[in-house]
Symmetry: C2
Subunit: 314 residues, 2 copies
Amino acid sequence: MKQYDIIIVGAGAAGMTAAVYTCRKNLKTAIVSIDIGGQTNLTNHIENYPGTGAMPGPELMQKFKEDAVKFGAEFISGKVTKVEKEKKEFLVTINNKETVKTKAIILAFGRVPRKLNIPGEDKFFGRGVSTCATCDGPLYRNKVVAVIGGGNAGTEGALELSEISTQVYLIHRREELKADPITVEKVKKKKNVEIIFNSIATEIKGDKTVKSIKIKNTTTNKEREIEINGVFIEIGAEVQSEIVKHLVKTNERNEILVDEVGVTSCPGIFAAGDVTQVPFKQTVISAGDGAKAALQCYNYLSGNTAEVQDWKKR
Amino acid sequence: MKQYDIIIVGAGAAGMTAAVYTCRKNLKTAIVSIDIGGQTNLTNHIENYPGTGAMPGPELMQKFKEDAVKFGAEFISGKVTKVEKEKKEFLVTINNKETVKTKAIILAFGRVPRKLNIPGEDKFFGRGVSTCATCDGPLYRNKVVAVIGGGNAGTEGALELSEISTQVYLIHRREELKADPITVEKVKKKKNVEIIFNSIATEIKGDKTVKSIKIKNTTTNKEREIEINGVFIEIGAEVQSEIVKHLVKTNERNEILVDEVGVTSCPGIFAAGDVTQVPFKQTVISAGDGAKAALQCYNYLSGNTAEVQDWKKR
């Protein structure tokens, strides 16, 4: 059975930064992930990760990967399907097949897009329904699309689509957009974006592909149907932490509870990034917290916890 | 009197990342600092800030500055000499002259190098005594130098100097280097680096410039004098938080006490980076925590604290 010092689950900003730090401590590190880049991949134009200038999210994540590889991180493509504690070590099963042994684990597998749970959503997924305007937007050139969600993801998505599609409907359940003011200002200036407030999607209809969406105004209860070619569901993301729930404490949103340096309720398991309860979901924050979890994991493996205990005296 | 939403004190990784985030929230932001780059400037080769590849610290910090400027941050060159609370706002005095008004403050002024407090240290500062191998190393080409300190700064400094100087003495008070294993391995391979363990510097001697250093073995109490041309004091750094001590709580190391998102004991004042009690001092960690402090400062100014209170329920 393969033996590692640290298995990092997830290859987003948190996981790959953690790998840079554990590898620099000469710890044998593998990253297990189904993708490279995590939530940052969903941004076509990341401009608030300082030091790199603006670029597409996937490009930035490729650079993170190069850094992790440079210092010796091993990438294992696959899904972690089981995590078991065995005395002071852990057994990690990948794709229900191979099992590896590790002294410590850093959980950094982020979030997955949330669903509306309305008729047509699953049926037309990939045939007009998408959860990533950045990824699938280019498929809707000169077409009509709807975006569900008025937070940063939805508003930025509408902005992006306004450059590609002829008409964009931005459907938001509240009476005001929740995105950053700079983004709200921009989207309001777009002539081909119609913002529909106080409204929820109730059904997605079509034949082979999406043809229309039914929406309901929650103030007047009036329903209407809009003809569209695609719908982007951008209502945030959720943590799927089932595989480790028997080992670490989570909150009501399934987020893994960590202290200030990524320590979970289970000795030897650390967590960082969107998978934790940290309120702000940002690439640079995930990167910073990935470094903290890695350094604290190193302290744990070398039996040095004084530094942090000292910190907590406040 | 000039009025700002946010004054950020210090232009290192934490302060400049905070500025990127507050400016993107359309908050009128000024950064007051005597330098650009803070502690990151002291690194000639930063390779653990993910996404940028290796580069000199000052170059990376210049990129951070470009990002902050791009989003509208105003840079004010100077030292904050006084901070006063006036009702719910603050008065910030710069260089004992100009006073500006602000709704909130983010403290991110980092640390300054620690001193040995031995004879000759002050007398020869700038004439053979330096606190930055990265900055002043090139002045000692083909000369003999000593480095005091066996942590990351000292060990990396010795490594760097070994490429420039003919002979490097690395003087460390403990019996083992405390730097990252990867760095320790490298320095041990250098034929022109002599590591002197269990020893402290007791005096720096010279005429116009440094000529020798006296060191004492703390196990045997034997003293010896080594002829050198320069000495690099790399024993860490300390926080100088006197100007805000009447407003925010600090610990015995003068570090400003913050919660998980940079909130200090004084409403309206936030802090991030090396100036706080966070145990790991790293560029990427300062950047991440700068973003958290900025987003929480935005929450404070917009009266929204629910997100974080929710987080603390754990």
